[in-house]
């Protein structure tokens, strides 16, 4: 057991336990905090996979933005479902069954796939995938500029959509301006 394997196993265990607690916690605030732990675990795994830039982007996008949004939403909607409300709907058993069956199927498929046991070859010393390479790939006309631009348009649409959806209705706005 090398150090790297130990680190991977520890991180994987933490991530899985946190993910399980996310879907099981009755209190939403706790679930949000477990989610942050799971996301941090995935960030550590990215760093283990030598995609350090992606690890930091994971922290910046998921934990610093999405997780805070989720916590704010939980705080704003906390009164809706009290502590006594049920947290799982009527078909939770079927959901658990579906998840387990899917996991079993994926496990079977992975054990039969040919290349799964490949061990990581050490990366070349000049580190092909630097941040600069990533940047160039995203704007290179022959490579990935189209998904990049489409993602930008998607983000713009989401920005405008979120603002429009979350605005108070017109009556409230009119009242706000002329009390």
């Amino acid at each position: 057991m090398t150090i790297l394997q130990l680190v991977f196993l520890a991180t994987a265990a933490v991530t899985l336990v946190a993910a399980l607690m996310v879907v099981v916690s009755p209190r939403m605030v706790h679930a949000a905090l477990w989610l942050i732990l799971a996301l941090a675990g995935v960030a550590v795994l990215f760093v283990l996979l030598e995609a350090g830039f992606l690890g930091i982007v994971q922290v910046a996008v998921y934990i610093d933005a999405i997780a805070i949004l989720i916590i704010v939403t939980v705080m704003l909607t906390q009164r809706a479902m009290g502590e006594g409300g049920r947290q799982v709907n009527r078909s939770w058993l079927w959901a658990a069954l579906a998840a387990i069956v899917l996991f079993g199927g994926l496990l079977l498929m992975l054990s039969q796939a040919p290349g799964s046991a490949t061990v990581a070859t050490p990366l070349a010393a000049d580190a092909e995938a630097t941040v600069e390479d990533l940047g160039r790939a995203l704007v290179d006309v022959d490579r990935y500029v189209l998904p990049f631009e489409v993602a930008s348009v998607l983000l713009l649409a989401a920005l405008i959509g979120a603002i429009v959806v979350a605005r108070p209705s017109t009556e409230a706005r009119r009242e706000g301006r002329q009390p």
Partner: protein, 398 residues
């Protein structure tokens, strides 16, 4: 003496290895100890910076500041620390205990972790990550998470309101901060702080992009939550904002985190815009880098203190409109213009400083014209409102 810090590190490694450890664990222990040493020095340095701030603000307000405890009141911070440590930590009934205790830890950790990528002297840096600008942004925002958790777990609606306002303030001002952080990245061609400092050997980036430095300064002021943007913890308005229910050492942690964050802003501005450890004679004597860095950091910290003592607090709506209507478009314009002028200057061989300053000058002129037009339209609206009100008042009186 070209690499004194490397020599010290090598000597310590030799010491540990002579005690029987192998290279790997010895290295790990050394790094751990160095990180602990840096964190301890930082947290202890807040004692000095808090004293300096109180004295300077006092002098600006024509009073003396702490002058009883120790010579010139220098031990006042120590006395405050002892007081905070000996106070009881009261956890409010109904508070979420685990979250309540974790929140101050998150805030302090996020501030101290920024120092891992600040280059203190040539070859003296915590870890030379080549994406340190992004690291600074993401780690700095973990403090925002800690503040949200503190407000949420306190079982107190004023704490919650304060936390909401603080988080909204921090999230919105993160946008111009990130945009202005991209400008030194652009000018240096790398996101690593070491590369950014080394690229400032000829000319500090403050001369190439003064507007970006100013925008970074203002938005970082707001990120920290210091005056004039301290409406989150406005002592006279919201009681104490998100840390109402905290007492004793957990409040001390928020306190220390805020002042350390202010000092960190000084360090970051010095690194990114003023040249970090660059200065005359630093190539021959790398040890000189440390005093240069400290001098620049303290200079920016003095600016922070000056801003706090001078400006009145802004309202939340003024804060929001300043950000979205002024700072963010300005930061975007600065980013685009800096990119264009820097590329043009390097392609066409113009003087880099003059080209960039010309671009910034265009932005400043444009911004001033926009502000003048906006002020004129506001004035017109005010006059038209007054014209509407006065005739009715005249008829009512008569």
């Amino acid at each position: 003496m070209s690499d004194p810090f490397g020599a010290i590190g090598g000597w310590l490694m030799g010491l540990l290895q002579s005690l029987g450890l192998e290279a790997g664990p010895a290295r790990f222990i050394l790094q751990f100890a160095a990180a602990g040493f840096l964190a301890t020095i930082l947290l202890l340095s807040t004692l000095f910076t808090i004293w300096a701030e109180r004295k300077i603000i006092a002098r600006m307000q024509d009073r003396l500041g702490p002058n009883r405890v120790g010579p010139f009141g220098m031990l006042q911070s120590v006395a405050d620390l002892v007081k905070l440590v000996t106070k009881e930590v009261i956890i409010p009934a109904g508070a979420d205990k685990l979250v309540y205790m974790i929140a101050p830890l998150l805030v302090v950790t996020s501030v101290v972790a920024i120092w891992a990528v600040v280059p203190l002297a040539p070859k003296l840096i915590g870890s030379d990550v080549n994406v340190s600008v992004l690291y600074i942004i993401s780690v700095g925002s973990i403090g925002t998470l800690g503040i949200m958790l503190a407000g949420m777990s306190s079982n107190n609606k004023y704490a919650l309101l304060g936390a909401f306002r603080t988080v909204a303030q921090m999230l919105s001002y993160a946008v111009p901060m990130i945009l202005s952080l991209l400008v030194p990245t652009l000018l240096a061609g790398s996101m690593g702080t070491v590369a950014i400092v080394e690229q400032q050997r000829a000319v500090p980036f403050f001369l190439l992009a003064p507007l970006a430095a100013v925008i970074f300064f203002i938005s970082s002021l707001t990120e920290v939550g210091r005056a004039p943007f301290d409406l989150a913890e406005a002592e006279s308005e919201l009681v104490a904002g998100f840390h109402i229910e905290y007492s004793g050492l957990s409040f001390g942690m928020f306190f220390v985190a805020e002042f350390l964050h202010a000092f960190t802003i000084g360090a970051l501005t010095a690194t990114l815009f003023l040249g970090g450890w660059q200065g005359p004679g630093v190539e021959q004597f790398p040890l000189l880098g440390l005093p240069y860095f400290l001098l620049k950091t303290l200079a920016v910290y003095f600016l922070l203190i000056w801003a706090r003592a001078t400006f009145p607090r802004v309202r939340i709506d003024q804060l929001n409109s300043l950000n979205w209507k002024f700072l963010t478009p300005l930061a975007l314009a600065v980013l685009v213009v800096s990119a264009v002028t820097d590329k043009l200057a390097s392609e066409l061989g113009w003087n880099r400083i003059l080209a960039n300053l010309a671009g910034e000058g265009v932005i400043v002129v444009g911004a001033l014209m926009g502000l003048w037009a906006y002020a004129r339209s506001l004035r017109r609206r005010q006059e038209s409102l007054r014209a509407q009100v006065t005739p009715s008042r005249a008829t009512g009186a008569s």
